[in-house]
Structures are given as structure tokens and as C-alpha cells.
């Protein structure tokens, strides 16, 4: 009986990993210094190749940086002492689902727009504690200091 349960659990492992990949909205391409991805309250170290999902928080602790590319070819990088929430990412052009909303809690970021920005310029925005930034198909640098 126990053998079956164990076998069942082992068989589920690749499915879980695959499921994480299936819901990926982008991938981390580079990390310097100490960085993490926070998902459902749990932290995992951020390394090049890690998949990121909607609602993830990307954080760099101390000096460092992280670069991420997304499914719509947009690119984001964050710098030292930075915290960015990937609040909403929808990229299904055939169903007209297009949106990219980020939350820059603190720190610095560079955003280079991709297909979502091209097809639906009004659907990309960055929320910060001091202001909201509405982007129209473009390239943005932002710094938020607490």
C-alpha cells in the first residue's frame, strides 16, 4: 500500500514542475547579488532560468540586480534594494486578453515594452506608493524611495 502511495507521489513530481512551467509568464535571465522570488508567501532563491508567475514578487536584497524577460517579449530589470510585484500579466492576443500591471514597491526598475504594449498601449501600468505610471508602448526608468 505504502509503495503505491510513494509511487503515486513520485509520478506527480514532473507534473507539478510542468504545471509551474505552464503558468510561467516569464523567466529570470540574470541575477547579481542576493535576490528572491516570493510566491504565496514562500521564498525561493532567484537564479537565471527560474520561471516567474503572475502575482510573484521579485526582490533584490542589498546591492544587486535581476533581469527578466516575459512571454510578450517585454523586459524588466530591477536594481539594488528593490521590490517589484508582478500584479497582473495577461497575454492571449487571440482572445483579446492583454494586460501587464506591475507594482514597484521600492527601488529601481527598467521596463522595455513588448507585444502587450504594442497591441494594447493602455493596458500597461506601474503602480508605486507615490504615483501611478500609465505607459504607452515605451521604455521607462523608475525609482521609488521609501
Amino acid at each position: 500500500m505504502r509503495a503505491f502511495v510513494l509511487l503515486g507521489l513520485l509520478l506527480l513530481l514532473p507534473v507539478t514542475a510542468h504545471a509551474a512551467e505552464e503558468s510561467a509568464i516569464g523567466h529570470i535571465r540574470s541575477v547579481t547579488g542576493e535576490a528572491v522570488v516570493i510566491r504565496n508567501g514562500a521564498e525561493q532563491p532567484a537564479t537565471a532560468g527560474t520561471a516567474v508567475q503572475g502575482a510573484d514578487i521579485l526582490a533584490v536584497r542589498g546591492d544587486g540586480s535581476m533581469g527578466v524577460t516575459f512571454r510578450d517579449n517585454s523586459r524588466v530589470s530591477i536594481g539594488s534594494n528593490s521590490r517589484l510585484r508582478l500584479a497582473q500579466f495577461e497575454f492571449e492576443p487571440a482572445e483579446n486578453k492583454l494586460s501587464f500591471i506591475m507594482g514597484l514597491v521600492r527601488g529601481t526598475m527598467l521596463y522595455v515594452s513588448g507585444v502587450i504594449g504594442k497591441l494594447s498601449p493602455e493596458s500597461v501600468s506601474v503602480e508605486t506608493p507615490v504615483a501611478t505610471i500609465a505607459l504607452r508602448g515605451t521604455k521607462l526608468l523608475a525609482r521609488v524611495e521609501e
Binding site: 517579449n73 523586459r75 487571440a94 504594449g117 521604455k139 526608468l141
Partner: protein, 205 residues
């Protein structure tokens, strides 16, 4: 004579300090940059106290706190942009590269020219600084049934995927999808035949 000289020196120092203080950017800072292809979009920065629109490359606005409105747009030199944002600029991922593939009418066979282009894709993949993700996306024009177009464009994308796999691409790095008619190269009205839109795009990122 000496008293005048000291006074002028003090005044000059104070002036320099004043100018330096004025050219320090606000704590919260937002800058519009040119896209890689040279076009410039626009951004609107808003809070409860006000709103500003930036529409020229190098324009910036910001505020020292949430209680202050966004400042009148000012222009930052490249030097000031680098001074404020060097780390994120250096951490920018490499620009994605997209290749367009075309098919013999009504089939899932690549044109000869497109078949040859696979070599360029492979070369680009080898040259990437970081192991790339590869997106294969089918597209259609606006002629005919959306469902039929969707199916054909997905089949074609799958064909291209199989071709890449035969070259030894890591299967885990590849994502296949279709955008149907919603992401054309050449925007057209409904039911307009446009061969340039009937394509599969491979993006290496």
C-alpha cells in the same frame, strides 16, 4: 582688497552649492526613454495631487513624497540617467530576436527560403549570452473562419517546433502558441487576404 576676494569666493561657492542642489533629481523619479528602434512612446505619471505626461526621450518627472504632485517635466542628460540608473540599465536582458517563417499555400510545408532561415535561428541561439527561451507563434490573416485559421496556424507552429527539435534544441525551452489574426504584421480590415500575415514567428529571448 582681500575682504572683497573672500566675499566673492564665498558667493561663488554658495552659488555652486545652490546649483548643485537644484540639479539633484527628486527621490521618486520617472524617466521616458527611446525604444530600441528609435520610436518614443509616452508615459503619464499621476497621483492624488496632480499628473504629468512625458512624450520626449530623456524627459523626467517625479516627487519627493506621495503628498507632492509630479513636477513639471524636465530633461535628464545621458550622464544623469546613467548616474541614477546604472545598475538596472546594465541588468537589462538581451533584446529578443524574431524570425518570420512562411509556408507554401494551404500546406504545412515551409518555403525554401524559410527552410534556409532555420540556420540563422540556430546561429542566434548559439550566440545568446544566456540560455534562451524560444517562442514559436502561429499567425493568420483575416480571411476565412477564425477557427480554421487558428488550427492551421498552430499546426504550422508545431511543424516549425519539430524542425527545431531535429536540430537538437532543448524541448523545455520552447513554447508554442497561436495569436490567430490578432497580431498582424500588416493590419488589415476583416476578410482581407494578406500573405505577409500568414506566418510563424520564432522569437529567441
Amino acid at each position: 582688497m582681500e575682504r572683497n576676494g573672500t566675499f566673492r569666493a564665498t558667493l561663488a561657492t554658495l552659488l555652486l552649492l545652490f546649483v548643485a542642489a537644484c540639479s539633484t533629481e527628486p527621490k521618486n523619479l520617472f524617466v521616458l526613454l527611446k525604444d530600441d528602434d528609435g520610436t518614443v512612446g509616452s508615459i503619464q505619471v499621476s497621483n492624488a495631487k496632480g499628473s504629468q505626461v512625458l512624450s520626449k526621450a530623456g524627459q523626467a518627472t517625479g516627487m519627493d513624497s506621495a503628498e507632492a504632485p509630479p513636477q513639471e517635466p524636465f530633461t535628464l542628460t545621458q550622464e544623469r540617467i546613467d548616474a541614477n540608473f546604472q545598475t538596472v540599465i546594465e541588468a537589462q536582458p538581451e533584446e529578443p530576436v524574431t524570425f518570420l517563417f512562411y509556408f507554401k499555400t494551404g500546406t504545412t510545408d515551409l518555403t525554401d527560403e524559410s527552410e534556409r532561415q532555420i540556420n540563422d535561428v540556430m546561429a542566434t541561439i548559439q550566440r545568446r549570452k544566456v540560455k534562451p527561451r524560444i517562442a514559436i507563434v502561429g499567425h493568420t490573416d483575416t480571411v476565412g473562419s477564425a477557427a480554421v485559421n487558428q488550427r492551421l496556424s498552430l499546426q504550422r507552429a508545431e511543424e516549425v517546433k519539430e524542425l527545431l527539435f531535429s536540430f537538437g534544441i532543448d524541448t523545455e525551452a520552447v513554447e508554442v502558441s497561436s495569436h490567430g489574426e490578432s497580431n498582424p504584421v500588416v493590419p488589415t480590415a476583416d476578410n482581407v487576404a494578406e500573405p505577409r500575415n500568414r506566418r510563424v514567428e520564432i522569437t529567441v529571448r
